[in-house]
């Protein structure tokens, strides 16, 4: 629980914070809007007092009302983990600028968030599906994608017939894939 870090972040990013900085155990949490992501992350990475050079994780979260992208960072300057939550992405068209200009390794993490949630990372040169097959038409970790109680009882051996029609823009135009849920 690093109070100095909290004061430093509050003074540096006062105008961009979308909520209070919270601290619990050894984590400090920062909330910003999606448009502020590149500037805040660049400041966190480059400034000599902050030096958050290690991106530990990039995750998408679907809260039911909105989508979030959560970044976890580590710095040698503070004993806390820093969590940056880019909150307020819409659930229908979630867009957030990509941080691949800072960490090239975020490319695949962003691909994964796109694959699971449909979050478009603007500026990512390679935003396509990474886990699901390229002609898959749903985003599995969204809250409106349901798992059946027993996949074996469904004729499709899975949830293919329950997929919603949120078709990703990059889904290939092949004839044999249905765009509407079957049955």
């Amino acid at each position: 629980m690093d109070r100095r870090l909290k004061r430093r972040l509050e003074s540096r990013f006062a105008d961009r914070l979308a909520g209070p900085i919270r601290q619990r155990h050894d984590e400090t949490e920062l909330r910003i809007g999606p448009g502020d992501v590149p500037d805040v992350m660049r400041a966190l990475h480059d400034e000599p007092e902050l030096r958050f050079e290690i991106l530990a994780d990039l995750a998408g979260v679907d809260t039911g009302h909105a989508m979030q992208v959560v970044y976890h960072l580590w710095a040698p300057t503070t004993p806390d983990w820093l969590r940056v939550i880019a909150d307020g992405l819409s659930r229908d068209d979630p867009r957030v600028p990509s941080i691949t200009f800072l960490w090239k390794g975020a490319e695949w993490l962003e691909r994964e968030a796109y694959d699971m949630f449909g979050i478009i990372f603007e500026g990512n040169r390679d935003l396509r599906r990474i886990f699901m097959p390229p002609d898959y038409t749903s985003f599995p970790l969204r809250k409106d994608f349901f798992l059946p109680d027993d996949a074996a009882r469904s004729p499709g051996a899975g949830v293919r017939q329950m997929e919603r029609t949120h078709v990703p823009r990059d889904a290939p135009a092949t004839g044999h894939i249905r765009r509407t849920p079957a049955g």
Partner: protein, 418 residues
């Protein structure tokens, strides 16, 4: 769902062929079972795809398919090669994507710990550890010291077995069939020990929120004592088979070199990052559990190539043996599990926990909404990011060097694909 049930036993049907085949209507996959041409059958959707699938003069796209003898798991690499030299790579993942995060959202907190085991299946305890740490942060639970020591002890044993396997597979992928057998000897001994402690050889399911599942028992201690008395000599002999092997050294030296700055930009952690010269180990950089009380070094090497990664793993095994010694000497008495209610309902909140696993930083981000199931359960795996660096490490080398680099990065596809 209003679809009608299909009969489950089709052996009496005479109008469909008796063996399954791709044309069989009973194959219950709605997509056509795919042909795996290297070139995707639709126009490129991203810049990188267009750049990769544009083949120059003399270049060829080949598919190192999801099934290949390199035993790290099922991964597909589309390689653009010019003769024997690799020009570019496109790894295709997802052949082991099991939807663990979605399953964990529908399971209780205790059940999610079991679901994490098969991710990095050779080091299952390190998969469970950040999850229990994140839940302990959400619930504000204090873990008894004896439980922490047992966690460290079993974790370091698991680290030794994981590194031994990594070394063995490194040699196996380069064609050496002997070191893998020695590695499996080490692994089998350690895993039998852990089976005496946890009940399972591989997917241990041992850590619990607030402690561990059971105390040390006589069988575990006797096997451990027996093994420790010969561990150092055995490990030096068996795993040091390759240290001076000319073929191994010449194949790995200078291959897949990366410098610290690039590695940090690629979000590398763990032994791969320490082999580039940066002594970043979460056990010292962000201490958790009882690691502050234990005395061990962080091995680091400066070259950043495959050989450095291999030698670093051998060094880490020796450090783990030191840690196990100290754990055994300093083991406190007490309970091994904190008192918790059966049904856990943490306050709404978020928690992140990251630990140092054998491959790097293994992390769990748990979001709780006040119910007994996690709202979002995000697993961060280190091998995912190491595989991303293929495009930096391998172009310019030969195809066989892809194998060496892949093996030295030690990915486990269960964790990569979740």
């Amino acid at each position: 769902m209003t679809a009608t049930r299909q009969p489950t036993d089709d052996s009496a049907r005479y109008d469909i062929p008796a063996h399954a085949s791709a044309d069989d209507p009973r194959v219950l996959l709605e997509e056509q079972i795919g042909v795996y041409e290297p070139v995707p059958p639709f126009p490129p959707r991203t810049e990188r795809e267009a750049e990769f699938y544009t083949v120059g003069d003399g270049e060829m796209l080949i598919n190192i398919g999801p099934h290949h003898p390199s035993t790290h798991g099922v991964m597909r690499i589309v390689m653009k090669i010019d003769g024997e030299k690799v020009v570019d790579l496109d790894p295709v993942l997802g052949y082991l994507h099991r939807g663990v995060e979605k399953i964990c959202e529908n399971a209780d907190f205790h059940q999610t710990i079991t679901h994490l085991d098969p991710l990095e299946y050779v080091s299952s305890l390190f998969c469970e550890w950040p999850a229990v740490m994140a839940y302990e942060k959400l619930l504000d639970v204090e873990v008894p010291r004896r439980a922490e020591y047992i966690r460290v002890l079993s974790g370091e044993l698991n680290r030794i077995s994981s590194h031994a396997l990594a070394i063995g597979f490194h040699a196996l992928d380069l064609g050496g069939l002997t070191p893998i057998l020695y590695s499996f000897i080490e692994r089998d001994e350690i895993v039998e020990m852990l089976a005496a402690l946890t009940g399972q050889r591989m997917l241990f399911n041992y850590f619990r929120i607030g402690g561990v599942n059971g105390d040390l028992n006589h069988e575990f201690m006797s096997r451990l004592g027996d093994w420790m008395s010969r561990a150092t000599t055995e490990i030096n002999a068996n795993l040091g088979l390759l240290n001076e092997n000319e073929i191994f050294v010449r194949r790995n030296r200078g291959l897949g070199t990366i410098d610290t700055e690039t590695a940090l930009r690629m979000c590398w952690t763990g032994p791969n990052l320490r082999a580039t010269g940066l002594p970043f180990d979460l056990r010292r950089a962000h201490p958790y559990s009882v690691y502050p009380e234990l005395d061990f070094d962080i091995p680091t090497r400066a070259e950043g190539d495959s050989l450095a990664r291999y030698l670093l793993r051998v060094d880490e095994i020796k450090q783990s043996l030191r840690i196990i010694d100290q754990c055994l000497q300093q083991m406190p008495d007490g309970p091994v599990m904190a008192k918790l209610p059966r049904l856990l309902r943490p306050r709404p909140g978020r928690a992140w926990a990251g630990i140092e696993g054998p491959r790097g930083e293994y992390g769990v981000y748990a979001v709780s909404d006040g119910t007994d199931q996690p709202f979002r359960f995000r697993i961060h795996d280190p091998s995912f990011l190491h595989l991303q660096s293929f495009n930096l490490l391998i172009p310019g080398n030969l195809m066989a060097d892809w194998m060496a680099v892949n093996a030295s990065l030690d990915p486990i596809m269960g964790g990569v694909d979740k």
